[in-house]
Symmetry: C2
């Protein structure tokens, strides 16, 4: 179980081709808590293009700022997915950063194919984890030592919380807020953003790839 | 009813203090459709700070670029909310832009307190509209000629689609995708982002401010 918190820094990893909602879904919810300060981290600071929609987010802090201890190691780490992960699993800099910071963080979270970066860095070995359903086989191919759970909205094992695809990151964030700030605060934050979260980590209709959500 | 589309440009308005998920929730969904190209528009191009979470998004196009016809008027307009709307309802530049472009757009959408900007510009007069529940009275104070609907996840009237708070923008986006690209495509896009949308515009538990979502 995650521990109650007073004040934490959440480091959010950015790389070219990140999925916009993988980042902003959880960030919106975490930023509603005064206890959580957010810092965007990338290989090089500046404007980082997302996978789609002409979205660019700005990273203020580099991997080196943290690895060289110019900036503190964040208490929590969030690794988004997106088409860029297909390149980044081969990028030694990001794998080095994730493997240095992930195990030190009291919570290391991933959304969607962001789990591939945790798996490729080796730090998920021996832990249970999930990921995006449509990219699951590719994500799982990054480590045969992870205990992959295909049917899960999110999975919490040790200090790792990995979530299913894209919007699942929001449900994972509500779960983390409940675990660290309590049920009442998490419910207030969900109400503030007028969000009805999925609350059962094991319920995952999207694990059946033929499932068509009602629209 | 919104018309079927072949190719549209979605202009997304940015201003200091926009709510991150009001923008990225709909943008994530619309950007899944190859038929929708997205352009971020602000008073001055460049990095625009959000209301929270150290988020900054980059706007490529200025109001003047469009008003002077250097850039085309977008087919669709999306106006997010956020704490910045409290200032922006008094900003003649943004009101002029909204009142020039909103009525020309085949769909003019708002999320959350973004509806206040449409109301303050006068273009919503005579139309039905909704907004964020916690800020509803303030939003409604911007025009007594709008037919305000307090209990609604979203409201579609004429070329205006206004949504309730923050995450409601995602449900509005799925509704617009269904109306313009059809049910099957909208369902595929929701499945791609592993999102179970709210599908009943009239169902709005958050209209009761004492409602506490299960977390």
């Amino acid at each position: 179980m995650a521990e109650a918190i007073r004040q934490v820094t959440l480091g959010v990893l950015l790389f070219p081709g990140f999925e916009p909602l993988d980042v902003i879904g959880p960030v919106e919810l975490f930023a509603c808590a005064a206890e959580v300060s957010i810092v965007f981290i990338s290989e090089r600071p500046g404007s980082i293009p997302a996978s789609k929609g002409s979205v660019q987010l700005i990273a203020s802090t580099s991997f080196d700022d943290i690895l060289s201890e110019k900036q503190p190691v964040p208490d929590w780490l969030l690794v988004p997915g997106g088409v860029g992960t297909r390149m980044e699993v081969k990028n030694p800099s990001i794998l080095q950063f994730v493997s240095a910071v992930g195990p030190k963080a009291s919570l290391c979270m991933s959304v969607c194919t962001g789990t591939a970066l945790l798996a490729a860095s080796g730090i998920l070995d021996g832990f249970k984890a999930t990921s995006n359903k449509r990219a699951f086989d590719w994500v799982a191919s990054n480590s045969d030592k992870v205990k992959w759970e295909r049917q899960a909205r999110w999975v919490h094992d040790g200090n790792f919380v990995t979530s299913s695809g894209v919007s699942a990151g929001m449900d994972m964030a509500v779960y983390v807020l409940k675990a660290t700030l309590g049920e009442e605060r998490a419910s207030e934050i969900a109400a503030y953003v007028e969000y009805l979260p999925a609350t059962d980590a094991a319920a995952d209709p999207f694990a059946d790839l033929s499932f068509k959500p009602k629209v």
